[in-house]
């Protein structure tokens, strides 16, 4: 313990110098072929860095076996065997070796017929093609026979992070005076909609007007390509299932996302994250109308559809006493950037009391900047009648998919997002590693929170630590930012001390981090239990 304390002190003095030193960990970047079919065995090449001497693959999926055939500095050759019973969908694979465990990289299991790319390959519905764009600017071309009136969907899923795929449908350029062999663009899709959080995979649905042979072209945005730029192309008849363009969830708890679900026992979930043991009564329900009929009783959900441009729904809100409120907004169908809901609360004089539009000044010219939020907290200073209004931020957009659900409720103090950014931990014998857990306190949650790391390998001990706090200059005028962001963000700093003589890991260890609020001096139910891969490795150069 004495030596540990000395070690921690040294770490703190170094202010992250040793803690943040980059360790040349092995990294996976791309899998080729990207997709495999259940019930088959096939070879796979996985590219990356620091892969020399890797010893095995790790896949946590029933019915999947992966054998490492050959390891090189920048690629691994393996053999994947998929049982017939393996479920289709996205899978993750890691590699393990003396330098530790790699990141998990995505690959896929499909049920359709699967072929590898080749020149003039003729596609058909129900077929999946594995391909890659090995060089920058590479373009893969396929043929497809289609009947008049046929609806075809081409979906390209790329692996790794270096490829943003584009799919283009070409038709013979019969009307080109310049060339008898030309093709012209008929339809094109980079992604359905480019917006932060939305997928960048390509998906093109086209209604074929004339029977004949068409070409399908797969390329990378702005000529992307290179090692690891693999993809699979899926051809389907029809449009496929209807999907809303929702952002991909990056964390387990997305309280401030427009697409989290406010229905069900949402209030109970919030109470539980505050350590409560009993669920509250469900909220009242009211439909929004342009006529402004009805009174919303707290806690209450107002929901409706803004069917046409410039439509606004209003409802009365009677408040008995001054109180702290929260507005939460869900857009379960169309969402940002297509549907951008603005919710405002006005008092009897028409003065705006609260809105989900955060207005601030930037530091360059002090221009106003505005951002809408899925959650707003505010205080109602006096009892009385108020009006709640919901509309789209634009005046020119509105359609039935502009469906909203607005929950207005008294504030519920609770633990918000808790995040550990590390995907895996490769600990070096004789070194100390800092791991930071970020925790957000919502709606004035003031109770203690306990965080533990459990199941650590032998020779690894954990103690609380402290790191240099971040200092950011404030905006000149950030407006009422406290309404739109968690009131408090805290950091748990764990120091993982690895003994000099700690046994090196021969396989992945799976410790876990657990976070539990403390209510009335008692531990409440865990709000985070996360397992993560960890290995103890020899010092790396």
């Amino acid at each position: 313990m004495k030596s540990l304390a000395g070690g921690v002190a040294a770490v703190l003095w170094a202010t992250g110098l040793a803690l943040g030193a980059a360790v040349a960990e092995p990294v996976l970047q791309g899998v080729n072929p990207l997709a495999g079919r259940a019930g088959t065995t096939y070879s796979v090449v996985i590219v990356g860095t620091g892969l020399a001497a890797m010893q095995r693959f790790s896949v946590e999926e029933a019915g999947v076996r992966v054998r490492l055939v050959k390891a090189g500095a920048d690629r691994l050759v393996g053999e994947i065997t998929l049982d017939p019973s393996v479920t289709p969908g996205e899978k993750r694979i890691r590699a393990v070796g003396p330098r530790g465990v790699t990141n998990a990289i995505a690959w896929h299991v499909v049920t359709e017929a699967l072929v590898a790319e080749k020149p003039e390959l003729v596609l058909a519905p129900g077929l999946v093609v594995n391909g890659s764009l090995a060089e920058p600017g590479e373009v893969d071309l396929y043929a497809v026979e289609a009947k008049a009136g046929e609806v075809l969907t081409f979906a390209v899923v790329a692996g790794g992070s270096g490829l943003d795929p584009v799919v283009t449908l070409l038709e013979p350029a019969a009307d080109s005076w310049f060339s008898t062999k030309g093709w012209k663009r008929l339809a094109f899709n980079d992604e359905e909609l480019f917006f932060p959080g939305l997928t960048t995979q390509a998906r093109l649905t086209h209604v074929v007007q004339q029977a004949g042979r068409y070409r399908v072209q797969v390329s990378g945005f702005a000529g992307q390509g290179g090692a690891g730029a693999s993809y699979f192309l899926r051809v389907r008849s029809g449009e496929g299932e209807r999907r809303w363009r929702h952002p991909i969830a990056r964390t387990d708890w997305n309280e401030r996302s427009f697409v989290r679900q406010l229905g069900g026992d949402w209030l109970g979930t919030l109470h539980a994250r505050g350590g409560a043991r009993q669920s509250p009564l469900p909220p009242s329900q009211l439909s929004g109308t342009e006529a402004g009929e009805g009174v919303l009783v707290l806690p209450g959900i107002l929901e409706g559809r803004l069917n046409r441009p410039a439509m606004a729904h209003t409802v009365r809100l009677h408040i008995e006493r001054a109180m702290q409120l929260a507005i939460e907004i869900e857009t379960p169908e169309a969402t940002l950037p297509e549907f951008n809901p603005v919710v405002s609360v006005f008092d009897a004089t028409g003065r705006e009391v609260a809105t989900n539009v955060h207005t601030k000044r930037n530091n360059n010219g002090l221009y106003m900047m505005k951002m809408i939020h899925a959650k707003t907290t505010f205080a109602i200073p006096a009892p009385g009648d108020y009006t709640v209004q919901v509309r789209d931020i634009t005046t020119d957009h509105g359609r039935p998919e502009f469906f909203y659900r607005v929950l207005i409720r008294p504030q519920i103090p609770h633990v918000g997002r808790v995040e550990m950014p590390e995907d895996r931990l490769n600990l070096v014998a004789g070194k100390v590693r800092l791991v930071t857990l970020q925790l957000e306190r919502e709606e004035d949650f003031r109770d203690p929170v306990m965080a533990t790391m459990e199941g650590l390998p032998a020779g690894v001990t954990v103690v609380p630590g402290a790191e240099n706090p971040l200092e950011r200059p404030p905006l000149q005028n950030a407006g009422r930012i406290e309404r739109y962001t968690p009131k408090t963000t805290q950091y748990f700093s764990f120091l993982l001390n690895v003994a000099e003589d700690a046994a090196l890991s021969g396989m992945i260890e799976w410790p876990r981090v657990v976070v539990r609020p403390v209510k009335e001096q008692q531990l409440a139910a865990p709000i985070l239990e996360k397992r993560f891969p960890m290995m103890v490795v020899k010092g790396l150069q």
């Binding site: 005076w177 012209k184 410039a310 940002l336 705006e352 221009y367 931020i393 634009t394 009422r480």
Partner: protein, 834 residues
Amino acid sequence: MKGLWLLALATVVWNAEPVAVRLVPSEFRLYRAGAAQQFVFAAEYADGSTRDVTDAAQWAASSVAGTVSESGRMTARWAGAVEVTAKWGRWQASAQGQVETAGGDEQFRFRSAIGSILTKRGCNSPACHGGVKGRGGLKLSAASLFPLDDYEWIVQGGAYQVLSAQAKGERKPRIDRQNPEASLLLQKATGAVAHGGGKRFAVDSDEYRTILGWVRRGAPFGPAEDETSRVASLEVYPRILSLEKAQKHRLLVTAVMENGRREDVTAQALYLSSDKATAGISEAGVVNAAALGETSILVRAAGQAAAVIVGVIGEPVANYPAVPRQNFIDEFVFEKLRRLRMVPSALSHDAEFLRRVCLDLTGTLPPPGRVEEFVRSRDPKKRERVIDALIGSPEYVDYWTFRFQDLFRVAMFANGINAKWSQMYGEWIRESIVKNKPYDRMAWERLTAQGYDGPTRHFLPYDVIGSPEETMAEEVRVFFGRRLECAQCHNHPYETWSQDQFWGLAAFFGRMFKMGDTGNEYVVFDHPLDEAMGNGDVNGKIQVLHPRTKAELRPTLLDGKTVMATGRENPRKALADWMVQHPYFAEATVNRIWSEFFGRGLVEPVDDFRSTNPATHPELLTRLAEEFRRSGHDLRALMRTMVVSRTYQLSAEPSATNRADRVNYSHALPRPLLAEVLLDAITTVTGVEERFTTTVTAAGNVTQRTPAGMRAIQLREPDVFHSRFLDLYGRPNRLALPERTGKANLGQALHMLAGSIYNEKLGAPEGWLQQQLRGGATDASMLQTLYLTAFGRPPELAESQELLGALAARPDRNEAWKDLVWAILCSREFAENH
């Protein structure tokens, strides 16, 4: 003086007999005793020319309502009807008129009485007190456009400030009511005290007496300006004038009031010649042709300006040919050429036409096989057929997408600093071209764009919502072809655009906002007026302030109509509705498209329409705009109309009469190929494609490269795809409205000598040249193919003989051929569209 006129006439009316005469105006109305109307009596000749015979005519008035001078100026005396008759030789014409308030004094008005003197004497010209800040502390509006302001600066004194409505310094009146003769206004103008502008009039002049009398009467302003006194426009007769050397012609200037009343202001107007060496003009408005050429005469009066085009023509053309006409374009162009005594060049030969039309409609060289096929064809409709094949072809879509991506500024930095956004915006343009979306719809969508659609991205230059004034100025420049920027800080010194008009128009864009603050999520919207949406949290307000008066501005159209968009309407819709229906919109569009096919606009520069920059063919411009509107703003129909005309299809070979012509379309003007088109043409000839890179890492590794087969005209963003060649040859970065000069520069010359495009492609094994040489092709067949590909024509016999001889004389065939192809690529015939 009259004798000189007669002498001049005698030299031009020597052997020709007019076919008609015209008395202008043919009807008139005068509103007070003493009011005057100038007449112009013109003889019209069979060749389309006219002669001013006003001074040679005998004039008579039919009643005592007025008298008419020997120079054709009638002065009202009494109320009543009057007929004015002009006689010249056996020719006679009459004008019917009415004097309505004869015997009564019209109310004094500052603008017409004093302002007109300030205009006529050049005091309020842009170079003097009519400039941005005025001169010597005195600011006057150009041509007395804002008489109340002028009155204030003269009567109250003080120095004008550009960014404040407050006068600078002590306010000392420029007139002296106690001692009128001591008024600074008079003393400066007469040179009695030092005046930077020199002496403007004499003490014994009418101008002096008028101003002195006005000061003696207490210097009144007169009744407030109203529709009977505010001038809506200025008309000048004739708008186009063709004169022989030494010939003269009187101009007639009419102010049209807002209520439609017309007033002769010929005597009050200020006249300036753009090129006195070609044609001068007297104070009285008489044009004097001096030397062969074309120039314009600027006319200023009553707050307005107009221009007259004067062509000084050569000797009559004996047996002027009957030139066939394909459509109305030819009617207007050839009629003017006939008046200018220029004979249009012959029709282009088939190969010349084919290369030109392919490059203009598609940015693509015609394939050799198509050239041979077209030249062989005896189909009388083959030109129209090929035009129809080209319009709407994939190459057409690529080319016009490229041209509109230029104009609409598709660039990463211009569209939110995000290549995905410039792609969204570029795709919207491409789809519009594919579908031949009516251009008014395209403009409307761009002007009103809200949300996250493609055209909204153009409101995000450098990642921020552009300022209202910059956004508005660009939209006006793109869709109206007019430059209002000058009026941002001050009333436009050369035009009638006021600072109020500028800011009223800018206010349409004053509520625009972006939603989002992380750099990748901007949704464009118009902030409602009746909702704070958090403004109170930062003490913010949604308003556009007049920079000078600091008054809050309401969206106001150029015609003064204020648009009362409610708080939750998109105010830009009203602006777009108005803009796409305004005559300026169609005029500017047809002019811009015209310039793509003819090398210059009817108004040039194409985005600089103004009264002082007249169209070379105003009637043609009007007719094209009418046809464009009638077609539903159909760009393809417009282009077809242009390229089927004989005017477009004239040869680039000039004739003896039109060699000097650069503005009247008497022959095709060779134009440098646009950088992208030139590069694609080099790729076509060499058979070695160009691959453009995007990201280049520090280690020199290319991580992104355009797909194989992508042409330069298909590149979307100049700031994403690098190309030294394109930058050297004038590719704009599109961070401001693109201007491509096409001027040669030293960098181009060096690139020709040593650059990769002109040199490495010739030795590339996969290229056309090396393949031909390896395949054993003969020099003759290679030369034939090379000429057909590069020039769109076979080599002439003499060229063949000379070049084949030169090739044979060289010991190294490969080097000889590389030199030949290089020379062809560097030739003007290749690098120009002609």
